[in-house]
């Protein structure tokens, strides 16, 4: 069972969290505006796209080079074809070292493979060290945004949680005290854990270097203090060289925070060498899990994603329903594309491409120019082809037959205007100026919440004929 997919998507507004999501989206929009002031945004986007597209186009070669360089630096590389394999590899590494506690830094890829559950089953305690992830984990909840996992929670909920955990009282307005509490608890973890597990933002094939980007510092701590560092990475995260990596190291924080640098960037090449007192072992776990399969398809560009979270902030639907509604480890527009793409549009994921009004805000926000809106349309066609909705397919077939000829189109117009008109008026309480409050199937979904304008008695083309001959 894939851990990517938790449940079928639920497209309901979530007013309780919408206010938090709006605040986050508003902050992000302001940051985005400042990023556009700082750099020639469109030129930078195109270069970022080129760097990522190059990596995806040459993926097998670059992964091979990456592996060779990581090994040359003393690291070990493990290949996982599936999520289950990746989790098993990591659990195996922990078991072989008699590991009892793990410091885990935020990684979407770890979510994707259900790593926490796998470690728990193996009797290894894995505590999330990212503040938002820690909160979510302690609540038994799930993260709802790539960058801000606790964005759906309120300060009051956090204060209540910390109060329960510590036995002390916390004031929800005293954010510094809440953070200080978590810092204290998690510091203990960094100092005692045997193994640190992180994700990877990008891996530079040129030198076998892993780049870890963050705001809090917990990733650096997880990768520095424990004796063993396990880094889990989707294979698409490789980049060819340092020129490209330098560009992306600026683009990622520009897209998510409006600044050309994140608070902390760690560059790890192999285990500690030459007097560096860091981990004596470095293990890189490379996850495929459906990624190779979408190369060469029209969904390939989705592999360019650098997990900046911009599309989530830009999406008006995400803001209404929240991350959990997508029912998968990746939410928002990128989630609606990558999850069905990687899962080959399983029935559980088939509805995801419809969680969108196709407004295009995601594609516009994407720093690597993934045409997310076009890909959603591609996925919709794939879902219909695989699992047709008979009634709808018949409707569109009839529509195509009629509307590909003017005679058929006009016949529909006459029916809509004249026959359906009286039908609507019969079924509806007309408001007098062409608007009705009740419409027949399939438009009753509309009139449950909105009035609808009745088809005109005389369509434009008839008026034209009458006046112009």
């Amino acid at each position: 069972m894939s851990h990517r997919v938790l449940h079928p998507p639920r497209a309901e507004p979530a007013p309780a969290i919408t206010v938090n999501l709006h605040r986050a989206a508003g902050n992000w929009a302001a940051k985005r505006a400042s990023a556009r002031q700082l750099v020639d945004w469109e030129a930078w986007r195109e270069e970022a796209r080129r760097v990522r597209a190059d990596a995806v186009a040459h993926l097998p070669e670059l992964i091979e080079r990456l592996e060779e360089r990581v090994r040359a630096a003393g690291g070990e590389v493990h290949h996982a074809a599936t999520a289950e394999e990746a989790a098993a590899i990591i659990v195996g590494l922990c078991r072989a070292r008699g590991t009892r506690s793990v410091a885990k830094a935020k990684s979407m890829t770890a979510e994707e493979i259900g790593l926490n559950e796998a470690l728990e089953l193996a009797g290894v305690e894995a505590v999330e060290t990212d503040l938002g992830e820690y909160i979510v984990q302690q609540l038994g909840d799930r993260p709802s945004h790539i960058l801000a996992p606790a964005v759906h929670l309120s300060a009051a909920q956090v204060a209540e949680l910390f109060g329960r955990l510590s036995g002390e009282a916390f004031d929800p307005e005293d954010t510094a005290a809440l953070v200080a509490y978590a810092r204290g608890v998690l510091r203990e973890r960094f100092l005692t854990a045997d193994v640190g597990i992180t994700g990877v933002n990008m891996a530079v094939a040129e030198t076998g270097s892993l780049v870890l980007i963050e705001s809090e510092g917990n990733i650096r701590l997880s990768a520095s203090l424990p004796r063993t560092h396990i880094a889990l990475m989707g294979i698409e995260k490789v980049v060819r060289d340092w020129t490209g990596a330098a560009h992306l190291m600026q683009m990622l924080p520009l897209a998510s925070h409006g600044r050309p640098a994140a608070a902390s960037t760690s560059i790890v090449t192999g285990p500690a060498r030459d007097g560096d007192d860091g981990p004596g072992e470095l293990h890189l776990v490379l996850l495929d899990a459906g990624r190779s399969a979408i190369r060469g398809t029209d969904l390939e560009e989705a592999l360019q994603c650098i997990r900046c979270g911009a599309c989530l902030y830009a999406c008006p639907v995400y803001r209404q329903v929240g991350g959990h509604a997508y029912g998968s480890s990746y939410s928002g527009p990128i989630g609606a594309v990558i999850t069905p793409a990687l899962e080959r549009s399983s029935p559980e994921t088939a509805q995801l491409p419809w969680m969108s009004s196709l407004c295009g805000a995601c594609a516009e926000a994407c720093p690597v120019k993934i045409p997310l809106d076009d890909q959603l349309v591609t996925l919709r066609a794939a879902a219909q082809a695989r699992d047709p909705h008979r009634g709808e397919a018949a409707l569109f077939e009839a529509w195509a037959r009629l509307w590909s000829r003017p005679a058929g189109y006009r016949a529909t117009a006459r029916t809509a205007g004249k026959a359906l008109g009286p039908l609507w008026r019969k079924a509806a309480r007309a408001s007098g100026d062409g608007w009705t409050a009740r419409a027949p199937f399939p438009f009753d979904g509309w009139t449950s919440t909105r009035d609808v304008r009745s088809p005109a008695g005389e369509p434009f083309h008839e008026r034209w004929s009458k006046r112009r001959g």
Binding site: V179, S215, E216, G217, S224, P260, A263, S264, I267, G275
Partner: protein, 183 residues
């Protein structure tokens, strides 16, 4: 084997260079926007004196680079020390970052655990672009150092209702003292 397509030449700089400012001033402006603190010293001796004054009697975890000797009065292991005392190898004007390579005499814990950090940086280490900074740090060497770090101000989180709090796991207050001239 396929070759990568040649990169499109870019303007290169993150922001319009501000006329009249030198690289150190450009770096400093970015660094301070990120809530870092910066100081200029004409010489290494002056920088050491400034650091001594900033630290006072606080307990220090320091690296063993020569410029850092005889500054701290009281030392403590990194997990307990109040202040860390480091040397940075580069600063990047475009991004406001400060960076270093870990290695012998430069333990990782001292680089991140204490909540206050004082960093000495020679003016020669200030470069324009991140690409330059990475090259200086040895990122493009075969192989690079096992650990490089670039920081851009204090650590921060906005995980609780988007309220920004500094100093989550990594330092909350960072002072960088840039000294000019050659020692």
């Amino acid at each position: 084997m396929d070759e990568a397509s040649p990169p499109v030449p870019l303007e290169g700089r993150a922001a319009q260079p501000r006329p009249g400012l030198d690289l150190v001033d450009e770096w400093r402006a970015r660094w301070e926007e990120l809530d870092g603190r910066a100081h200029r010293a004409e010489s290494l001796e002056e920088a050491r004196a400034m650091a001594r004054e900033m630290i006072g009697a606080a307990t220090v975890a320091r690296w063993h680079d020569a410029p850092l000797e005889d500054i701290a009065q009281a030392q403590a292991p990194a997990p307990e020390a109040e202040v860390s005392l480091l040397v940075a190898d580069v600063a990047v004007a475009d991004t406001g970052q400060v960076g270093w390579a870990h290695g012998a005499g430069r333990p990782r814990g001292a680089g991140v655990l204490p909540s206050r950090q004082v960093i000495l940086l020679c003016e020669d280490g200030v470069v324009a672009s991140l690409a330059d900074g990475l090259t200086r740090l040895g990122a493009t060497a075969a192989p690079p150092p096992s650990s490089l770090v670039l920081i851009a101000g204090p650590s921060r989180t906005a995980d609780i209702e988007q309220r920004v709090i500094r100093g989550v796991h990594a330092p909350r207050e960072i002072d960088v003292i840039v000294y000019g001239g050659i020692e």
